[in-house]
């Protein structure tokens, strides 16, 4: 047992995740995620025959399996990409939330609370208003907005005595309110036809899953969650406090910077493709910590998998509850998430 492993024992007690336990839980959650993706792809505003749909899904659309061309298109070109986007967005938001909470040692730290989602929203809005014809501008500006908001929060929080979690959260609140006003200001200037789509988008909407944003979201969510998981050991030690972590050999400022950038990439890509889906980054990591303990080496990947499942199920409800009309997925996650969070708060 190495020294840091011993420290993990001290910090985390029984909650310490052995590599075997981590692998086991992640495998189980991964299997559950896959199962839920397959299951919900049988539901939609259009009813498709179940066994033929499963056959088409498992052959990845290469075999007809008795579905008509239009039905195959509905399943493979419309429904499945949307479910995969939901998974990518859920994984991104939950992993980002878990990392922020560990980094700031604040259970309420969340992309929204820190203003990072709003930064991404402003970036996306600007690209919609001024660069509507360039599809690639959207994720780029969203990431840029998230990054700028992150840096702004970070700068504001850096006082003479260093960055305290309290200062960081307070700066986040200030940046959030400022950017919210920018959003209100610009939406007021927009013409009515654009406002309609934009207000829907602000509530979180996964219907625009066509195009290359899906690939970007999936790649970003997998890569960034992996990077964050590699920093989980340092995040565990940071839970002792920054000075102690520094004494134990953690490059505090480098870790903090990397985690911030990577997490804002996650937030930027998810906001660009789906708007602001709330509560995922708050509720899912808490649920994971309550069930499996707070060792970040387990929390971050497990939160990503569970978050993916959460949004996949929430979006299925959004697609089917009032079909053929649709609800914004953000409304569903908030309706499920807020009571769940109150329950978790009272239990914890």
């Amino acid at each position: 047992m190495t020294v840091t492993e011993g420290l993990h024992m001290t910090v985390l007690g029984d909650a310490r995740a052995t590599p075997r336990r981590t692998a086991l839980i992640c495998l189980m959650l991964g299997a559950a995620l896959l199962a839920s993706i397959v299951l919900v792809s049988l539901f939609g505003s259009e009813r498709l025959p179940a066994s033929e749909s499963l056959c088409t899904l498992f052959s990845l659309g290469r075999r007809g399996c008795g579905l008509s061309a239009a039905q195959t298109a509905i399943l493979m070109d419309i429904r499945l990409p949307r479910i995969l986007l939901a998974a990518a967005v859920g994984a991104s938001l939950a992993a980002a939330g878990a990392s922020y909470q560990a980094l700031l040692r604040n259970p309420l730290a969340e992309p929204y609370l820190l203003g990072i989602s709003n930064g991404a929203a402003v970036g996306t809005m600007l690209s919609l208003v001024f660069l509507g014809q360039f599809a690639f501008a959207r994720p780029l500006l969203a990431f840029g907005g998230a990054l700028l908001a992150t840096l702004l929060v970070y700068r504001l929080a850096a006082g003479r005595t260093g960055t305290t979690p309290e200062r960081l959260i307070l700066s986040g609140v200030i940046v959030t309110t400022f950017l919210s006003s920018v959003i209100v200001f610009v939406t007021t200037l927009l013409d009515a036809t654009r406002i309609r789509s934009f207000t829907f988008w602000l509530l979180g909407d996964l219907s625009g899953s066509a195009g290359n944003l899906l690939i970007v979201s999936i790649v970003v969510s997998i890569l960034c969650t992996t990077v964050l998981s590699f920093h989980a050991r340092s995040l565990n030690l940071l839970m002792l406090g920054e000075r102690d972590a520094f004494d134990l050999g953690v490059e505090v400022s480098r870790v903090r910077f990397t985690v911030f950038i990577v997490a804002s990439l996650l937030v930027g890509s998810s906001v660009a493709s789906s708007g602001s889906v709330g509560y995922v980054g708050l509720v899912v990591p808490h649920l994971v910590r309550l069930s499996f303990g707070s060792d970040n080496r387990l929390t971050i990947p497990a939160a990503a998998l569970l978050g993916a499942m959460f949004v996949v199920i929430a979006d299925t409800l959004a697609r089917t509850l009032i079909a053929p009309r649709e609800l914004p997925v953000g409304a569903i996650t908030a309706i499920i998430g807020a009571p769940l969070f109150i329950y978790l708060l009272r239990r914890g």
């Binding site: 259009e46 419309i78 219907s207 649709e326």
Partner: protein, 341 residues
């Protein structure tokens, strides 16, 4: 924040209150609170005042059943409206009503309209009181109108009460289909003493509509999808004005039975409907924002067969006289052979 809201509400009510009986009471109580600089007390006093004012002012809101020298109308929302014998100054808060006012020859009496009112050309140079979503009450009051026209098409019903409180006559029109447009035109004709012009206009519009309906009468209706916006995918539902236009133009909207006027629609249902044509309302106020078919619909037979029709959105979505132009354009697009004689 809440405190601030409550105060603003209290102030709002106070400014609306014109009863002289209230004012000494207000000054006395208000000033004693201010002298002692106790914010809680001021708040309580303001709340009490607002309550008293709300009770006291409520009498002012109900218009008397008849006013001497004024004409009484029941508007299309069922409200009683009193207007002077001849209206010289009116404000229109909807582009379709602005177009109607000009079409029946009362354009010179229009002293204010919205930023969306862009037709005819003269309408652009009339004083703007804001857009149809947030008109400015102050600007409207400053124009001293005798009548304000509101259309349910621009969802300003909530605004009606606010203007009513200022003792300005508000007439609400509620055109839901082409028949409703004719009715609104005739009603505005009576209101503005332009009956003859209004009747002539509706007669012409009816003739043109009937000509279109005759031309497409024996043809198979074309199943079509109306794409209001691509991302997110919005369409026209049961309550949309354009659904009636589509039916008359020899089309069959696949979303004609969906509840609501402008529902957000499932992409897979849109594709499953196997629409033979896709209508893109574009080129008017919408600009080129809706000029491309939504990604999922590019897999539809309508797209592969090139049956994509761009129709000026102002003609399709504004329930005014130009709606007949939209009807004609749509019918020509759906049934070209019916008009090539």
């Amino acid at each position: 924040m809440q405190l601030w809201n409550a105060r603003e509400k209290a102030f709002g009510r106070m400014s609306g209150c014109k009863s002289p009986a209230d004012s000494p009471f207000r000054q006395k109580r208000g000033s004693s609170g201010l002298l002692r600089f106790q914010p809680q007390k001021i708040l309580v006093v303001l709340l009490l005042l607002s309550l008293g004012c709300a009770l006291g002012c409520s009498n002012l809101r109900d218009p008397p059943a008849s006013v001497p020298g004024q004409r009484a109308f029941t508007d299309e929302a069922g409200r009683l409206v009193h207007v002077p014998p001849r209206i010289e100054r009116l404000v229109s808060l909807a582009p379709n009503l602005t177009e109607t006012v000009y079409a029946i020859g009362a354009g010179q009496r229009l002293v204010g309209n919205t930023t969306y009112c862009d037709y005819p050309e003269e309408a652009k140079h009339v004083a703007k009181v804001g857009d149809t979503l947030q008109p400015s009450v102050e600007r409207i009051l400053a124009l001293r109108p005798q009548l304000i026209l509101i259309s349910t098409a621009s969802q300003l019903e909530a605004f009606t009460q606010q203007l009513n409180d200022q003792n300005i006559s508000v007439y609400v029109t509620d055109p839901r289909d082409l028949e409703g447009v004719y009715r609104s035109i005739l009603n505005l004709g009576q209101l503005l003493n332009q009956e003859k012009e209004a009747m002539a206009l509706t007669a012409t519009l009816r003739l043109r509509t009937e000509a279109v309906e005759r031309a497409v009468a024996n043809r198979q209706p074309v199943k079509l999808f109306y794409q209001l916006s691509a991302e997110p995918l919005y369409t026209a539902g049961r309550d949309a004005f354009v659904t009636d236009i589509i039916r008359r133009a020899g089309g069959k909207s696949v979303t004609a039975e969906v509840p609501g006027a402008w529902p957000k629609y499932s992409a897979e249902s849109a594709l499953a409907s196997q629409a033979e044509a896709i209508i893109l309302p574009t080129g008017g106020s919408m600009g080129e924002a809706n000029a491309a078919v939504a990604g999922p619909l590019r897999l539809s037979p309508a797209f592969t067969n090139g049956k994509i029709y761009k129709i000026n959105d102002d003609h399709l979505t504004r329930p005014g006289p130009r709606a007949v132009e939209g009807l004609e354009a749509l019918a020509r697009a759906l049934h070209p052979e019916a008009f090539n004689k």
